[in-house]
């Protein structure tokens, strides 16, 4: 059963199109990762789910409710942990949680009891009664996670929860998210860290340029790519001519695809092989040509490969390309009410 159904969402800010025909379904009780470079539309999607933003077109259903109409009921179901942690520097962490509890109309006794539980769970005891202005990034993020969990939401939405965090804070947050999922909470998080999706997500979607370009479990996506990645050398450093000769030899072989000569790695060859029988045939072919294999490394496709296949560029290249196009002033305006 899908807890979230996003149906053909369109959203633009002025002339900039943020979402283009984005559709997505998130099953109940899973930990779902939205992967994409900065500027792909992840934050816009999450802000729409959190009822902070309305799409120009399309439908949003959460737990069977129309999120564009039954906003108050939807807000009760959701815990939202924003990317830019908005805390009041003058309040202590505990005071902020008390305020949050009152905004969600918890009874005072229940509120305080839950605050104590969350303080213990997220290891906030040593600093929770200090003013938020003195907190490190990791402390703020933990506090914000606690605030999002205070009313025990059915759906927890996190916008890049571990960006720029220390390892300890990241581990704490990852563990809490796993525990939550195990106890039935649906968790939706956006990230541009491949390893975060790898470590956490039951299912994932890759978002690029405002639309979903791949969806499934991480394993499914990797298997869909098919084949193993192979790096091959016939000697430590080949010259270009030799590499081209090898390429010409291997190209006709059945089950060998995408041969690329990696100039920066001593003209080694990267290729994709399909099936178990291909490698022995490949070795034989090279031996017969007098160029026996010197080194061969084989690996399953990674999420990096999935991303590359889906978008035609690596995640890092996408980030670099987008970094130049961002307009911080425009983005601040979008986030402001």
């Amino acid at each position: 059963m899908s807890l979230i159904v996003l149906d053909h969402l369109e959203k633009s800010y002025g002339t900039i199109s943020a979402l283009r025909d984005l559709s997505l379904q998130v099953p109940e009780g899973c930990l779902y990762g939205l992967l994409g470079p900065n500027g792909a539309g992840k934050t816009t999607t999450l802000r729409i789910l959190a009822t902070l933003l309305a799409p120009d077109l399309g439908n949003v259903r959460i737990a069977g409710l129309d999120a564009l109409k039954d906003q108050r009921d939807v807000r009760r179901l959701i815990g939202y942990v924003a990317q830019e942690v908005a805390i009041d520097k003058i309040l202590t962490g505990r005071e902020l949680l008390e305020l949050q509890g009152d905004l969600y109309h918890l009874r005072p006794k229940q509120r305080n009891q839950r605050i104590d539980e969350l303080i213990e769970m997220l290891g906030m005891d040593p600093w929770i009664d200090r003013r938020c202005g003195t907190y490190s990034g990791g402390m703020r993020r933990r506090l914000d996670l606690a605030a999002g969990l205070l009313h025990r939401p059915q759906l927890l939405i996190l916008d890049e929860p571990t960006v720029g965090l220390d390892i300890e804070s990241r581990a704490v947050i990852w563990n809490v998210l796993r525990d939550l999922r195990d106890q039935g909470t649906t968790v939706l998080l956006s990230t541009h860290y491949l390893e975060e999706v790898e470590a956490l997500a039951d299912r994932m979607a890759i978002i690029d340029a405002g639309t979903v370009i791949a969806e499934g479990t991480p394993d499914e996506l990797k298997q869909r790519l098919g084949g193993d990645r192979v790096t091959l050398r016939v000697r430590e450093f080949s010259n270009e001519q030799e590499a081209e000769t090898i390429r010409a030899l291997l190209d006709p072989l059945d089950g060998v695809q995408n041969i690329v000569i990696n100039r920066s790695q001593g003209h080694s060859l990267n290729l994709v092989v399909d099936g178990e029988q291909v490698l022995p045939r490949l070795r034989l072919c090279l031996e017969e040509a007098g160029l026996p294999v010197f080194a061969l490394a084989q690996s399953r496709p990674s999420l990096d490969d999935v991303y590359l296949q889906a978008t035609g560029r690596t995640l890092m290249d996408a980030e670099l390309a987008i970094a130049g196009q961002r307009d911080p002033k425009q983005e601040r305006k979008q986030a402001m009410r």
Partner: protein, 285 residues
């Protein structure tokens, strides 16, 4: 790490009544503003200090004004007192929008908008409660100082009139400031508007000098200035038996009684709240 107990309970909240929820959220938001004030009291102190300096320096500057220069043979200090009291409440209320503006800019407002508030009016209620309390406390501090300086103290009925008049003015100015806080792009612009509005409104009113001292054009300005409609009833409350049907102001367009002053302030307050309502609805929905 301990094993958390995090069963989902989506239904627990709906069992409470609408009014209870509204009071709970408004109280929490108001408490936040007062905690901020307690830990950063400089706005409170500056808000009292500035009018105090006006009162002492301006009072001293004109203390040798000839007897009988002012209407009713009033001393300048006593004349000035009413103006400075109103100025205190006015400039306090003019700052009402600042906390809201900072919440917009720092994204704290988003935290409030994501929460299932019973009514988003509670955000406005909290600001109004906070700024009203703050402005009245500041005004009372000025009134006490003025009394110590020998500028008088209104009687019981007069005190009620003073508080009622200030309340109307504070509501009106708070509405204006909250409207600006949502209409302007950032706190720099809001502070600029506050800065520009503050002193000219003081000078172009009857706070520092009576209408009869002013050239005709300025008399018109002062007689249309909302501050004047708050200053005159308060001045009347200080100068003796309370009678709202007395003419308090000889405006270029005709005589203005105490009742008219209060009526103008009431209409202004209601009008401003009606004016900013569509804006708040749009920004908070």
């Amino acid at each position: 790490m301990t094993t958390p107990h995090l069963q989902i309970d989506a239904n627990q909240a709906s069992s409470r009544g609408a009014l209870t929820e509204l009071i709970q959220e408004t109280t929490a938001l108001t408490r936040r503003l007062f905690v901020q004030l307690k830990r950063r009291p400089s706005t409170l102190i500056a808000g009292v200090l500035q009018p105090l300096i006006w009162l002492i320096l301006f009072g001293a500057l004109f203390s040798k004004a000839p007897e009988g220069l002012l209407p009713g043979g009033m001393s300048y200090g006593r004349f000035l007192g009413a103006g400075v009291i109103v100025f205190t409440a006015f400039s306090g209320a003019l700052n009402a929008g600042l906390p809201v503006m900072f919440d917009r800019e720092f994204g704290f407002l988003n935290r409030l908008l994501v929460a299932p508030l019973r009514s988003r009016s509670s955000i406005v209620f909290a600001s109004v409660i906070y700024i009203t309390t703050l402005s009245l406390v500041q005004s009372l501090a000025i009134m006490l100082t003025a009394a110590l300086l020998g500028y008088g103290w209104p009687g019981a009925g007069g005190l009620l009139l003073v508080l009622f008049t200030l309340l109307l003015l504070v509501f009106a100015v708070t509405a204006l400031s909250l409207g600006l806080a949502f209409a302007l792009p950032g706190h720099i612009e809001l502070i600029a508007v506050i800065f520009v509005a503050n002193l000219p409104l003081l000078f172009a009113s009857t706070a520092l000098a009576p209408l009869s001292f002013m050239p005709v054009w300025m008399g018109w300005l002062a007689a249309l200035n909302p501050l004047t409609f708050a200053i005159e009833p308060i001045r009347a409350a200080y100068s003796g038996p309370l009678d709202l049907s007395l003419v308090l102001l000889d405006a270029p367009y005709g005589a203005v009684t105490g009742q008219t002053c209060l009526l103008v302030l009431t209409v202004l307050t209601v009008g401003l709240f009606l004016l900013i309502r569509p804006l708040l609805n749009r920004k908070l929905s």
